[in-house]
Structure formats: C-alpha cells, structure tokens
C-alpha cells in the first residue's frame, strides 16, 4: 500500500530540527489550568455577590414594590451577575476539558463540579463579606451599575409609586430631610408613619408613602436600609429645603 520509504523521507525532513521543548507544553498546560482556576474564582465572586443581593433584597416590603412575589423576584433578579456566573463557569469547564486529561470527564460532570465549586467558594466569600464589598465598590465606581445591574436604586426612586430612599441629612422635630439616591432633597413628613426605629443623621432609610408636593413626601412607613455604604450623605454646610433653613 505504501510505496515510498516514508521512514527515510520523514527523517530527511526532520533532520537538524528538534522536538518542541517540554517547557512550551508545560507552559500551555499551566496556562489552561490557571485560566480555569481564575474563571472558577471569578464565578465564586459572582456567586457571593448574587447571594448578597438575594439576602439584602427588599423582602420585608416586597408587597409595596409588587404584589406578586414572582414578579418581585423577576424584577430584582441579579441578571448581570447570573450571566457573569454562567460565563465564568463556561470558561472554566472549557479550560478543564482542554487540560491534558480533561477529555476523560463527561461534560455534565465538569459543569456540575464547576457550579459546585463556585457555589461553595462563593458562599464562603459571602460569609466573609466579599459579596457586599463587590456590590458596594462597583456601585460607587460604575455609573450604570444601578441602572442595569442592581435595580434597587431604581426601585427606591419611584416616588410616584410611593417609594423613596435616601440618607437622612437633617431632622426637624419628628420630620426629617433626606437626600434621595438621585441627589434630590426631600422633606419627609412622619406624622402618620410607622417608624420602628429612630433614624440618625447620615443613616440610609427607605420610606413608603406618597408624594404630597414638590420635594415633600408623606411617609406611612419608614425602615432602615442597611448595608448600603454607596448611599453616603454628601458633606453639607448649609441647605435650604422648602423654606426650612438648616445649618449644620
């Protein structure tokens, strides 16, 4: 079947050349493993942020945001982080499959293992506060974060639906003034409000009620808004809201 002397021809062609050095292959292997580990780590970071956003959602007042719990979940799902998680898991499984012995494992087993690692590592990271740190750091540095990624900000700017959140900047008797998430000043009337705590200056709060006029909000319920360092009060020396002059 084979007429030419292949052995001789091959030896002639490879004469003077050497096999590729071992380090080239080792480097490629290590690079594939490294990218796989990085992807798993990023997947875990995404998962820790998903956990943070899930547990720090407005579950206590979801009926005010949407009557239907499923619609509320649909509205507040952290899609961006879920897409990131899926992306990093895909990259991780691709890299694991392309390691030297990766082909020996069934695809679904690699995917399940990647998801399991992301979940376990992500839960540990969440427990030490990494999820919160990521959410807060990105929220303060990425301008579009709250528009597209963490919808909480948008939800609490719906004053026409009776939802307002902001940082307490001053108090006037029972009423107080807050700087809303979009930077506007609001006088919050608390006469008819259920208020299970006493808000302090600089504290983020959620107000449920109705808009009574331009910059005036009649609260029916006032709740704390913990774990939102991105809602910091700006430095203020003097402000004037609806005729009330406040000097700090």
């Amino acid at each position: 079947m084979v007429e030419k002397n292949i052995s001789q021809e091959v030896l002639e062609k490879i004469k003077g050349s050497k096999p590729k050095p071992k380090w080239e292959f080792l480097l490629k292997d290590y690079l594939i493993w490294f990218l796989g580990f990085i992807s798993l780590a990023l997947g875990a970071l995404s998962f820790s942020t998903i956990l943070y956003m899930f547990f720090h959602n407005d579950w206590d007042v979801y009926v005010h945001i949407n009557n239907n719990i499923f619609t509320f979940i649909f509205l507040t799902l952290p899609y961006f982080w879920l897409i990131f998680l899926a992306l990093f898991i895909s990259v991780a499984q691709y890299n694991i499959r392309h390691t030297k012995e990766g082909y020996k494992f069934e695809l679904h087993k690699i995917v399940i293992a990647s998801i399991a690692i992301s979940i376990i590592l992500g839960s540990l990271l969440y427990n030490i506060g990494v999820g919160q740190a990521i959410d807060n750091v990105i929220a303060t540095r990425v301008p579009f974060y709250h528009k597209f990624i963490n919808q909480r900000r948008q939800i609490w700017l719906q004053t026409d639906k009776g939802l307002l959140a902001g940082v307490v900047v001053a108090q006037d008797g029972d009423n107080f003034i807050i700087k809303s998430i979009d930077g506007r000043d609001w006088l919050v009337l608390t006469e008819n409000a259920r208020m299970p705590f006493k808000p302090q200056d600089g504290e983020p709060v959620r107000c449920i009620g109705e808009t009574l006029g331009d910059g005036i909000f009649g609260a029916k319920e006032i709740l704390p808004m913990p774990n939102t360092p991105w809602m910091k009060a700006p430095p203020m020396f003097e402000r004037k809201v609806k005729g009330i002059r406040i000097i700090r």
Binding site: V2, V10, S17
Partner: protein
C-alpha cells in the same frame, strides 16, 4: 547489530525516550506504525494511496515535533492514532468534504462484527459478507470511526477514549449507537433484496 536488535525489542515508550536523545531512533517507531496508520487512515478517510503517504509524513513529522508532549501515562499507539485522527479531521476541513468511498477488508472484520453484534442468527452470513461494505459505507462517519477502532483496529474502550479524546462513557454510547445503526441498515438491506 546487537544494539539494533535490542531496540526492536524495546517498547514504544522506551524508543520515544531514545528518540529524544537520538533522532535516528525515530525510524523504529515509523516502521512500527507506518502500515497500521496507513490502513487506519484509508478506512476512515477514503483517501488515495498518494494522499495517504503525504498525510502519513505529516503525522510522523507532527509526532516528532511534539514528542516532548507525549504523556507516558498513555500508550504510544493511542497517542499516534490520536494525531492521525486529528490530521484526518483537519484534511476533511481543508477539503471541505467527507469521505465517500472507504476501504474495508470485509473478511477481516466479518467475524468480529458477527460475534459482537449478535446478528448471526438473524442474517445469513453470505448475505452479510456480500453487503457488509455497502452497509458500513452508509453509516454516519462518527459511528464508522468507532466501529473501525473497535472491530477492525481492535482497540479497547480506554484506547478509543484516548484516541478520540472522548470520555469512556461517550465511547460506549457511540459504539452502541453505531451497532444499532448497523443493524438497522442491515435489516433495510435484507428487506430490500
């Protein structure tokens, strides 16, 4: 002379190590696999002899260039069959065509297939012999290749897994499906007669 005789008795893996020290030793590996690989390529690719020889050269050159990447946990035969498989696939891609007329040695594979497929009672052996080539050609390429490796090259599941770089479970599934498709084509041919 004694050195040469000793080399012939060495395993492939040992010759690989010696080749890394002296290029000339690679000829022993070429001589061992030249015929086996050309037969394998012909069975799965349907290429003519000239193209097979060119492809064989490419395979051996590639094997030599990547000799430092040979994993001693694998059999050398699995590793070089893998290179051959990949080269055939890349040939298909270059030509943008898959094989049509492949080469089968019907007598050699008949016994293997009859024994393993449990079809001897259902189909007349002479009929099978006459139609085997035609039936094998009708089978999908992905199934045909595992049939070649299992029943003609007589590789075990582990070796097929290493050659095709697929998990053993997937190899088993492919072989089962290949058998089913083979039986189905066989029955269709029997009915159509």
């Amino acid at each position: 002379m004694a050195y040469l005789k000793n080399l012939e008795n060495l395993s492939d893996e040992e010759i690989v190590k010696l080749t890394l020290a002296n290029q000339e030793n690679f000829s022993y590996l070429i001589n061992r696999y030249e015929f086996k690989l050309s037969r394998y390529i012909k069975r799965i690719s349907g290429l003519n002899n000239e193209d097979i020889e060119d492809l064989l050269q490419d395979i051996f050159i590639k094997a030599y260039q990547n000799l430092n990447n040979f994993d001693q946990k694998l059999k050398f035969s699995s590793w070089i069959y893998r290179i051959a498989h990949n080269e055939v696939i890349s040939q298909w891609r270059k030509r943008k065509a898959r094989p049509e007329n492949v080469y089968w040695e019907v007598d050699n594979i008949l016994d293997n297939i009859v024994a393993d497929f449990d079809i001897s009672r259902e189909i007349d052996r002479n009929f099978l012999k006459k139609n085997l080539e035609n039936i094998l050609e009708q089978i999908d390429i992905k199934y045909r290749e595992v049939l070649v490796l299992k029943f003609i090259e007589e590789k075990n599941y582990q070796e097929i897994s290493d050659i095709l770089k697929k998990p053993m479970g997937t190899v088993a599934t492919l072989i089962n499906r290949a058998k089913k498709q083979f039986k189905q084509k066989l029955q269709e041919a029997n009915i159509n007669l």
